[in-house]
Amino acid sequence: MKYVDSTQVQKKMGSRLMANNLAKTLFFLSTLFGLLVLVVLIYRVLKDGLPWIDIDFLMNRLSTDPERAGIWGAITGTLWLMVVVAPVTMLLGIGTAIYLEEYATKGRISSFIKTNISNLAGVPSVVFGILGLTVFARTLDLGSVVLAGGLTMALLVLPVVVVASQEAIRAVPQFLREASYGMGATKWQTIKNVVLPAALPGILTGVILALSRAIGETAPLVVIGIPALLIPIPDGIFDKFTILPVQIYYWTIDSALVAEYANLAAATIVILLLVLFVMNSIAILIRNKFQKRY
């Protein structure tokens, strides 16, 4: 007696293969769905926004008149924000990573800090906004200025820099550290002269990704209290400011009132995406250039 009836198997095989092929097509289409959305999104934004982009749009101050409105204030605001975010998040992020990877003994304190950082990465950005509003803007009485926004953003993107720097430091081969210690170098000399230079590309990639995250974040700064209409151009870290995503936000919600605001929002999105594209390309270039050196 045969347990496997081969004719039966043959008969079923056809439908089984068909199911497999159907599923494969479905899975492929799912994957393409993302591409489709991306294409539609970029097409819409370009179609609505591109005709509005010219030198005046980039260089003009904000205005209620769509024809005269420009994003110079948002551009300088974004730059000033980066002036605060970049050094603060680098100092905190790289310092934390060095401590965790090189100094902390693998004990309770370091695993507590690690858990804390991964939990911090999951805290909604709007909650960081509340922290910034309460601590920096009100308790320290900075108001909704660049410094308050920058510190908030720096804390928000901190986990990105910490995790990327940790990975980069961990990837530095042990034999390089041994070579340095073997010369009588102290721990800090070894870190400063050998580990950090070797980990730099990975760290830089993480920093750029963190900054591009900060450039695109909206909620925390809206919560801190960036005004909807700010005419003066910020001139330092103690000035009130606005940034590209917040400008997009106000123009989008007001587009129900003035239809052209939607075009202004789209034009600003084009600029924002362009900036992010350039930053990410730089990050990818760094990553590819310095991969596998040993």
Partner: protein, 324 residues
């Protein structure tokens, strides 16, 4: 003997001609107390820096907690969590969080209805079906999608998806929870896809080969071998996606409006917890008012929700890592 003498002389001669590095170093060592200070203080400074992330968490919790306690002095705990009516402004302000909770949960549910199937199927395609070349072509697209700022998705939901949906669904309001829910789902697809793909890729090939050798099709292998083996990683990706959806702010703020209806009708405008926070802070609520405190009570609720989700995800994926 003469020869030996000559060699010895030669050695001496060589030393004279060249500088004595050993001596210079010994000399420098004496003046290096500064270095000892650095060695001692650097770890302490770095520990201080690392502690800032902990202080941030403490700062968040303390800020939320103190003001939330103040809020519950004005509004009874029970009333807040069972109240179906939220009317923060005006004479007879009422603070029930349920409208915000339903808004949050419904938008999250819609998002996950999009993100889970599409994300999982994408992950299966990339991990099980795609050739190396296709994968290298498609993965960057997911990365780009993941890198698009949420404000751009918000604009997309408001100016494109909502009008599009309104041409199918006549009763759909200009601001509604459906459109931002779907767009949030699209935003979360890359996250679910890449985390699930990681989980599936780490299933050992020997398990697949065992089933393939028995004549199973790829679909059967995926469904009966790979997904069960990677299930905890996959579920962790879902949980993280949910947490992300709960915390997402700009898409719902823009596209779902600020109506505080307690409803389950997805064609209507609803407010999520995050959108409420944006609305109240945007209105510059005066410190000390119940409205101001309500901000913190809602933020605390939001914080606790996402924290639990993240911890669940961490727990699941930790268990998963121990499996192989």
């Amino acid at each position: 003997m003469k020869g030996v003498f000559f060699v010895a002389k030669g050695v001496v001669h060589e030393h004279d001609q060249n500088l004595n590095v050993r001596e210079i170093i010994q000399e420098k060592k004496k003046t290096k107390s500064f270095n000892n200070y650095t060695e001692k203080f650097i770890p302490k400074i770095l520990f201080g820096i690392a502690a800032i992330s902990v202080f941030t968490t403490i700062g968040i919790v303390l800020t939320l907690l103190t003001e939330t306690i103040a809020f519950f002095k004005d509004v009874p705990f029970i009333d807040f969590f069972t109240g179906t009516k939220l009317k923060p402004l005006g004479e007879n302000a009422v603070f029930g969080v349920l409208p915000l909770l339903t808004g949050t949960l419904i938008s999250t549910a819609i998002a996950m209805l999009v993100a889970i199937p599409v994300g999982l199927m994408t992950a299966v395609f990339l991990s099980e079906y795609a050739s190396e070349k296709t994968r290298r072509l498609l993965k960057p697209i997911l990365e780009i999608l993941a890198g698009i700022p949420t404000i751009v998705y918000g604009f997309f939901a408001f100016t494109f998806v909502t009008p599009l949906l309104r041409s199918f669904i006549p009763g759909l309001e200009p601001t509604n929870i459906l459109s931002p829910g779907i767009v949030m789902g699209i935003m979360i697809i890359p996250m679910v896809a890449s985390l699930s793909e990681d989980a599936m890729s780490s299933v050992p090939n020997s398990m697949r080969e065992g089933a393939l050798a028995l004549g199973a099709t790829k679909l059967e292998v995926t469904w009966k071998v790979v997904i069960p083996a990677a299930i905890s990683g996959i579920i962790a990706s879902f949980v993280l996606g949910i947490s992300r959806a709960i915390g997402e702010t700009m898409i719902v703020t823009i596209a779902s409006g600020s109506s505080k209806n307690f409803t389950f009708d997805v064609t209507q405008s609803m407010q999520t917890m995050t959108a409420y926070i944006v609305e109240v802070t945007g209105g510059e609520a005066a410190a000390g008012t119940t409205l101001y405190y309500s901000l913190y009570a809602v933020a605390m609720t939001l914080f606790v929700f996402t924290l639990i989700m993240n911890m669940v995800a961490q727990y699941i994926s930790r268990k998963f890592r121990e499996e192989y």
